[in-house]
Subunit: 288 residues, 2 copies
């Protein structure tokens, strides 16, 4: 048996069409949507991510504002930058590239983003709305949304299913846990201190791996019928990109996301969908 | 074998002593701590809860402000009341008795409480800080804190333990899930759609029941060595108060919280501890 691959490509295409329509509708109403990114340190992966977003935005007719600061930027300077973007009515979404340099209080800068422009879903207010189940009012973090979208693309109904989430990070594991519980999955959150990982994975209908440890989820733990979402990204010594799930898993499970071409490849589209949700929230369709 | 009962009484006594010391220290510095409650509808359980808090506050030298509104109060009137308490420097904690009457948008009123006075931990900001693991900056909801305190009173270390939380509500189940994951427990969240409840409970080291369904957790699911926290409260037809755990469970498990005298009896003390944390936050020991 070979797994059906849950690739992001067809979903990206569908989302693009929706976003293009949203852009046209907004422009007819006189609004030019704009995403702003703030980057401290113009090097490493942040640069590549930002340029990729810029390219996608331009292709879809969305304005893009690139705010690049030196790696030595002060916290106050970053806070000023965010305050300016908060007040600028032509900016609809603010994306702060993480991680920030070590001398910056990441929590303080993150929290300064106005919640209804927080398209990456990282402010306490948006995290709180998620935990409270106020999903219509919240801007949700995009990687958990990507995992959820890919699970749903398998057409397996998550309600009542046993889900193992491996990884309890703030970016993926914890917010996804809440999203899946709200959809009536029975969720077990596993991590480095979990004693029965094999057993828990074996008894799960859906497995989400989000640890960044290449090959942590062994083929031997998996079986037919399972949906496996690989949200891990590691770079091997030979430069190849790989996920948390061991090679060969596709020979045993029913659905599997590829790495690359799975979870990560959907996030920019979900960020842009958040941008349109943010515009709705800014136009008074919710309190914040 | 008979379970060791994890009663709240000795913990309440210890907490009282700590609080009395905090009150004295604050008064020496010229601060008279004050808790304010807001009640819409002076009847039902809210009245009893409020009067019980008033009595405890007075016994401990804490000022108490009782703000009672008619069941027909308008949303704007409640929002005004909260705005006034937010601005009043002599008020350090605001406790809104829930549930509110049906014609009130509970989310809107809840969110109006200033986060650093939100001693019940119900605002989006405090929920978000919890999900982000910023526990030092957050005012946490008291019932999950009570469950955690009782688990810890068993002296069982939760790190690496399998925990089943039965109930995914916003008041207990979800916030407790996050708290226990942060303490390195492997947590499975169960609810009405869970298909293998018996099996999950059986394989757990710690079981927390928070459904409000009397006797949902059967003695037959439980076994020696387990710590069982009963956060359910139901009133039986004969007027007796009972929990979610079937009678007789104490004959099989190792630790069990009584109902009454367990989780519920600790919450007022935890609310008052939150009041002192709130005073710290208001004095600039954190951002909010």
């Amino acid at each position: 048996m070979t797994a059906t691959m849950l690739a992001s490509k067809p979903i990206v295409q569908k989302f693009k069409e929706g976003i293009q329509k949203d852009v046209e509708d907004l422009k007819l109403k006189g609004t030019e949507p704009m995403l702003a990114t703030v980057i401290a340190g113009w090097d490493g992966p942040s640069k590549a991510y930002a340029l990729s977003k810029e390219k996608t935005c331009h292709a879809l007719g969305i304005n893009f504002s690139l705010n690049v600061y030196d790696h030595n930027v002060t916290e106050d300077r970053l806070l000023d930058a965010i305050a300016t973007l908060n007040e600028d009515g032509s900016v609809h979404g603010i994306m702060l590239e993480l991680p920030l340099p070590k001398h910056i209080d990441s929590y303080r800068v993150t929290s300064a983003i106005r919640p209804n422009k927080d398209v990456d879903g990282i402010t306490p207010e948006n995290r709180g709305l998620l935990l409270m189940g106020k999903l219509d009012k919240a801007l949700l973090p995009v990687t958990p949304l990507s995992c959820l979208t890919l699970i749903e693309s398998s057409e397996v109904d998550v309600a009542g299913k046993n889900v193992a989430i491996i990884g309890r990070g703030e970016t993926v594991g914890l917010p996804l846990t809440v999203l899946l519980i709200k959809r009536s999955a029975t969720v077990t959150v596993c991590h480095s201190r979990t004693k029965d990982l094999d057993d828990i994975v074996r008894h799960s209908d859906i497995v989400v791996a989000a640890t960044g440890q290449a090959g942590l989820v062994k083929k031997s733990m998996l079986s037919a019928g399972q949906v496996v979402i690989d949200a891990g990204i590691s770079v091997l010594p030979d430069g190849k990109i790989t996920g948390d799930v061991e090679n060969g898993a596709s020979e045993v499970v029913s659905y599997l996301t590829p790495v690359p071409g799975g979870v990560g490849s959907l996030t920019v589209m979900l960020l842009l969908r958040n941008l349109f949700k943010a515009i709705g929230l800014q136009n008074g369709r919710a309190r914040i």
